[in-house]
């Protein structure tokens, strides 16, 4: 099981646009990825509603987990995405 612990970097937290980008990236990954915050159960990272239900804000620590071939690389790129302030990148990135 590959695991990454990341602090959410986006100013608006893990909802709205940052969540949409994260969910899309998780959905495109070759392995199934879950995400959880400390006190809640792990949920599918490719489900917008599940990710929103975490209520993760900027500064919240989240844990990503995945199994199988490509899991390490997948989590590296998803962790990088979460750590960035996607709100700040808005104009150039779409």
């Amino acid at each position: 099981m590959a695991t990454r612990t990341v602090t959410v970097g986006s100013a608006s937290g893990l909802h709205a646009r940052p969540a949409a980008l994260f969910v899309a990236a998780a959905g495109a990954a070759p392995v199934r990825v879950t995400i959880r915050t400390g006190e809640k159960r792990a949920v599918p990272a490719n489900s917008m509603l599940s990710v929103l239900s975490l209520g993760a804000k900027q500064g919240t620590e989240v844990v990503l987990e995945a199994d199988g071939e490509g899991a390490e690389a997948t989590l590296d790129s998803l962790a990088d995405l979460l750590a960035r302030d996607l709100d700040a990148e808005e104009p150039a990135d779409v």
Partner: protein
């Protein structure tokens, strides 16, 4: 009992018999509800349209959460929500939307409420109840986390 959303969700911003020909019109209706209740400057509505063109705010279960861009934050007078229901549905980039939960936010005080909304939508029965709500009380009862003896 509505303390938690009392500040965020004004009863006058719960409009359950709306009509819109398309997504842009639905977003404008959402914006009007936020403007009418004094939550945002009228200019905020354009940033809601811009956000939607950038990334869809459709979240699933017939629900979208329109909101402004980061640039629109200065046009927010106070954090607020509006709940608009379009009984006839609105085509949201290929997805049928019945309920819009519009968001005006400067800070992150609405994040818990969005999380509650997501939990509701992950529950098929409550998601349907929200889509079929015809009274503001129904919406408040669903969105406001009830204490211990949950009325779900």
């Amino acid at each position: 009992m509505a303390e938690l959303t009392g500040d965020l969700l004004d009863r006058r911003a719960i409009r359950l018999a709306e009509e819109a020909a398309d997504r842009d019109e639905a977003i404008r209706r959402c914006g009007e509800a936020l403007v009418d209740t004094g939550a945002v400057h009228p200019g905020y509505v354009e940033t809601m349209l811009a956000r939607e063109r950038s990334v869809s705010t459709y979240v699933g279960e017939g629900v979208a959460i329109p909101h402004g861009t980061l640039a629109g934050k200065d046009l927010v007078h106070r954090d607020a929500l509006a709940v608009l229901r379009f009984p006839a549905g609105v085509d949201w980039g290929g997805q049928p939307v019945t309920v819009c939960v519009a968001i005006a936010a400067r800070g992150d005080g609405h994040v818990e409420l969005l999380a509650s909304l997501a939990e509701i939508l992950l529950d098929a029965d409550r998601a349907r109840a929200l889509r079929e709500a015809t009274e503001p009380e129904d919406v408040l009862a669903l969105l406001v986390p009830a204490p211990e003896d949950s009325n779900r």
